[in-house]
Symmetry: C2
Subunit: 428 residues, 2 copies
Amino acid sequence: MSDSLRLGIAGLGTVGAGVVKIVRRKQALLAARSGRAIEISAVSARNRDKDRGVPLGDYAWEDDPVALAGRDDVDVFVELIGGSDGPAKAATETALKAGKDVVTANKAMLAHHGQALAELAEKNGAALRFEAAVAGGIPVIKALTEALAGNEITRVLGVMNGTCNYILTRMESAGLSYDEVFAEADQLGYLEADPNLDVGGIDAGHKLSLLASIAFGTQVAFDAVELEGIGRIGIDDINAAADMGYKIKLLGVTRMTGRGLEQRMTPCLVPAASPLGQLDGGTNMVIIEGDDVGQIVLRGAGAGEGPTASAVMGDVMDLARGLRVTTFGVPASRLTSVTTAQASAPAPYYLRMNLLDKPGALAKIAAVLGESGVSINRMRQYGHQDKTAPVLIVTHRTTFQAMEMAVAAMGETGVMEAAPVVLRIEDL
Amino acid sequence: MSDSLRLGIAGLGTVGAGVVKIVRRKQALLAARSGRAIEISAVSARNRDKDRGVPLGDYAWEDDPVALAGRDDVDVFVELIGGSDGPAKAATETALKAGKDVVTANKAMLAHHGQALAELAEKNGAALRFEAAVAGGIPVIKALTEALAGNEITRVLGVMNGTCNYILTRMESAGLSYDEVFAEADQLGYLEADPNLDVGGIDAGHKLSLLASIAFGTQVAFDAVELEGIGRIGIDDINAAADMGYKIKLLGVTRMTGRGLEQRMTPCLVPAASPLGQLDGGTNMVIIEGDDVGQIVLRGAGAGEGPTASAVMGDVMDLARGLRVTTFGVPASRLTSVTTAQASAPAPYYLRMNLLDKPGALAKIAAVLGESGVSINRMRQYGHQDKTAPVLIVTHRTTFQAMEMAVAAMGETGVMEAAPVVLRIEDL
C-alpha cells in the first residue's frame, strides 16, 4: 500500500463536517478501494469552539485557511469555505502554487476565476476537481469529462437549483403564491443567506457556466449566461402551463450553435410527461446529449450534507487512486474564448395574456402574430373574468427576434390588459 | 504530448465499426482531451471482405484475435467479439499476460470469468475495463467504481435489457400478446441470435452480477443470480398491474443483507409513476443507492452502435489519460466470496388468480392468506367471466417464505381455477 493521502479541510459547515465523518467512519472501505489510507492532517474554520457533531481533536487546527493550504502535511486541500473571492480563493491559490491538489465545492469561485485557477493548477502540476460544485451527488462533471469523452456534446440542460424547483413545485401542489412559498422556504432554512443566489438563478447560472466549459472546451463565461430567476412566475402561469401539458422549471440550457455559445438559465416550459417535467421538489436533473451516446439523464439530490460530501469524496478517491484529469477536460491553454450566441435557437413559445372585452380582440392578436411570422400551434381562451379574458397561446417554433417583434406589435393593438407573459418551451 | 495510444480492435460488428468511425472522425477532439493521439494499429474479424461502412485499409489485419492481442504495436486490446469463452477469452488472456490493457463490452465473459481475469490483469499490471458491458452508454460502472467510491452502496436496481423492456411496454401499448410482440421484435432484429439471452434474462443477469461485484466488493457470482425471464408475463398481468397502479419490468436488484448477497433478475412490479415505471421502450435505467449520496438515477440508451461505442471510447480515453482503477473497484484478492441470500428481503407481493364461482370462494382465499401471516393491502374482484372471477391482491410487506406457504395453502382450498400468478413488488 502506498503512502497515505493527507487532507486539509477548510470550512466545517454541513458539507465539511460530513466529509470528516466519512473519512473517520469508512477508513477500511476507503483504503481498500483506493489502495491508500485517507487521513485528515488539519482543519480550519471561523469558529473553533462550535460543536459540529464530530470530534476534531485528532487534527491540527488552523484559524487561517491560507496557512492550512500551505502546510507540508497536506497533500490535498479541500476547499469548502465558499464565496467567489476572499479566503477561499486565496487559500486555493496558495495550495495550487505549492503543487497541491485541490478539491472544491465552490461554484462561484470557479465561475468567476475558473480559467485563471485552471492555468495555475496546470502550471504547478496540480489537479483542481469540483464534482461537488454542480448538482450535488450527481456525478455530472465526471460523466461529461471522462465517461463521455468520446462524444461531441450537443446540448446540456437541466434543473440545477433544488430550492427553485422546490418553490415551483410547491406553488403548484399547494396552490400557493410565490411570496407564500418563498417565506416557507426561508423558514425551513432552504435559502442561501443571500436568497437571490437561489431564486435569482445566480447559483444555478454558475453551475451551468462550468458545464458549458467542459462540454464545449470553452473558457468559463459566467458573464455571458442569460440569467433570469423565478421571481416573475405566478401561480397563474403554473396553472396555465399545466393546463396546456407543461411544467415551468428554472432550466439551464447550453449548446454550441453556428452563431456561438448559448448559455441560458431562465424559467422555461417543459412537457409535463418528460423526465424534467416530472422532477418534483429539491431534486436535480442534468441531461447530457452527445453525438454518439444520444441522451443520458442523471438525477439525484442536488444539495445537502450526504450528497455533497459524497461528491467531494469521489474527487478525493480519484486523487488517492492517481486519477488526474485537466480541470475542464482539456488543457487550460486550449480552452477557447467564444462568441456568445446573441439570441436563442428557434423554439416554441408560450404566451399568457388577459384580453380586454372588446369585439375582435382575439382576431387582432392572431393577426399581429401572423404578421410577425409567428404561427400559432394551440390557443385557449377562457371565459371573461371581470372585464378581461385569459388567453393562452403555444406557438410553433420561431425565433426570439420574431417573438420580440410580435410582442411589441401586440402592445400596439390596445386589446391587452398588460404585456403578455412570454416563456420559452424547451424541446426534449 | 505523450506517445500515441495504439488500439487493436477485435470484432467489427456494429460496435467495433462504430469505434473505428469515432477514432477516425474525432482525432483532434480525442487528442485535445486525452493529451495523446488515439490510433488504431490493427483490427480483426471473421470476414475480411465484408463492407463495414468504414475504410480499414490503414490498419494491419489479423484473422486471429489472439495474434492481434499479442502484437507489439497494440497498447490496448479492444475486445468486441463476444461470447463467454472461445476466442474472446483466449485473446483477452493473451493481452493481459502481455501486460496490455483491455477494454471489453463482453458481459458474458466477465460474468463467468471476471475473478480470474481481474487477477490476471493485476498480476500483469494491466487494466481491464468494461463500461460498455453494462447498460450501453450509461456510465454506471464509472459512477459506482469512482464517483460514488466514498459510499457504502445499499442497493443497485434497474432495467438492464432494452429488448425485454421494449416487449413489455409494446404489449401494453398495443394490447398484443407476448408471442405477437416477440415475433415483431425478431423481425425488427432486436433479438440476440439466441433469444433466451434476452427474454430469459440471462444477458441482464450477467450485467447485474457485475454491478453487484463492484457495489459490494464481492467476487462475481452469476450462478447465484435468481433468474427468471419474461416468458410467463401475459397481457392480462400487464393490464391488471396497470389497474392497480403498477408496471411490470424485468428488474435487476442487488443488495447486501444480513443473510448474504441478494441478486435477482426477475419480473417485478414497480409503481407506474416512478422513474422506473415510466421507462418505455428500449431505454435502460440504473438506480444506485448509497448511504451518503441517497438515490442516483441514470437513464439512457442501453444498446446500439453509438451508445455502446461511446462507452468503449470512455474507457479508451481513461487509459489514454492514465486513469487506471482495479477491475471491480478493489484489488481482486480483496473481493470476498459471500453467501447467497436464500430468500429475498420482505416485500409486498401482487397476486392474480381466477376464482371459481363457488360461495365463499373469496373468503377462503382471504382466510388462508391471513393464516399464513400475509396481510392484504388492496384487493379487487372483477365480475364473473364464464365460470370464474378475476381477483387481484396486493399484500402488505411479507417474506417470500410466508408467501410460498400462503400460495400452497391457497391451492388446497379448491376455489381457484389454477395456481395464482405471484410477482414481487419492488419498493422505490
